[in-house]
Symmetry: C2
Subunit: 129 residues, 2 copies
């Protein structure tokens, strides 16, 4: 498949910032207390609406738990212009007990799992289109 390394990475349209989905990967995610929680590993989209539903946060092992992945509802995030990454309305302590998985044991991301994630963070599920 063709790829195009030339498409500009990030552009400003008025006050909007457009970015290739590829380039969101690796962006820092900070918690509500300012601590770095990890980085964006993947974006999970609703392919009908084109809206990001979850960010898969990679904690990169620094919580002392080894490399792990935490699906977090999009509603928990806001873009932090100053830091050039995402701020999440959660902290490390909340993350430690949250649904997560290791690279070798990815869950089936079905309705029940999605509900478990949104319930854990006490956030509403994404609207159904």
């Amino acid at each position: 498949m063709a790829t195009n390394a030339e498409i500009p990475v990030q552009v400003s349209v008025g006050r909007r910032v457009l970015i290739s989905a590829d380039d969101v990967r690796g962006k820092a995610v900070h918690g509500r207390d300012g601590d770095k929680l990890g980085t964006v590993d993947k974006l999970i989209l609703d392919e009908c609406t084109g809206q990001v539903a979850y960010i898969i946060l990679s904690t990169g092992g620094f919580l002392g738990l080894g490399q792990s992945y935490h699906p977090i509802p999009w509603a928990a995030f806001r873009y932090d212009e100053k830091r050039g990454g995402y701020a999440a309305a959660i902290d490390k302590r909340l993350l430690e007990g949250a649904p997560s998985f290791r690279p070798d044991s990815a869950p089936v991301f079905d309705e029940a799992y999605g509900r478990r994630v949104t319930d854990y963070y006490q956030l509403p599920p994404m609207d159904i289109a």
Copy 2:
């Protein structure tokens, strides 16, 4: 940076279909007359709202114009469940005169270029969050 090949590619949550943004790449895009127009090369997101703003369509050279890329506003698409790809409210003829670029001459995707694209397709620009 860590990657995780184990995250499931596509899951069904009720009637919603969630998909990793990575896995949208390469999906077929058909035109309003059913012809295949190309494939998804990239998704361009509004990083504040998490909403896809544009799909970069790769025409793969089969229009006789060589490999080229067409940014198309998200509003032109709907997900086509039957085909497992996107249907765009455009056709090859419209595409031939549309703003496009070659891998070696990517435009600066600024406000003026964005307006040129949305004006060409006579679609409203994405709402500003």
